[in-house]
Symmetry: C2
């Protein structure tokens, strides 16, 4: 009962460091997320070989938030257009 | 001409460090992204006061990717449903 809400501990490796993530997410999701961050860090390091790990991690977060915000803005545009379409019917 | 494609340099401050982002994005967008990352880092630091900055930055990236992936999965679900609706018409 309420089994899905039970907190799980998932240990993942990101850029050679171990992290234990505690939460209700399925371990498979946590592993996918970790793999994505690890891959992004390695990509950015390749383009900027002199970055130290802290700056590399911050820039990885910046890149991901950039993608995320662009998607949110894109979605809002779509919703705006839907809203406008609906509104023309009310005129 | 091709003015929008011209690369811009935007300097932002994230968690007390300066970063110069070079790209075609409007400076306003870069600043929004930086502010989001800065805020997330401070939130996570509050909940985990003993994290060093590198681990804090990595966990910030993990949190953002988590939100991003959930949104992508949510969107795919919506697209699947749309697809199914369309397909029932072909039967």
């Amino acid at each position: 009962m309420a089994d899905k809400e039970q907190k799980k501990r998932t240990t993942v490796s990101i850029y050679g460091q171990q992290y234990t993530v505690v939460g209700t997410e399925p371990p498979q999701h946590v592993k996918e997320v970790a793999q994505y961050v690890d891959q992004k860090m390695r990509e950015i390091k390749k383009r900027n070989p002199y970055l130290d790990t802290t700056r590399l991690a911050v820039l990885t977060a910046v890149n991901v938030v950039d993608e995320y915000m662009k998607m949110l803005k894109e979605q809002n545009k779509v919703e705006d257009t839907n809203g406008r379409d609906r509104m023309t019917g009310d005129d």
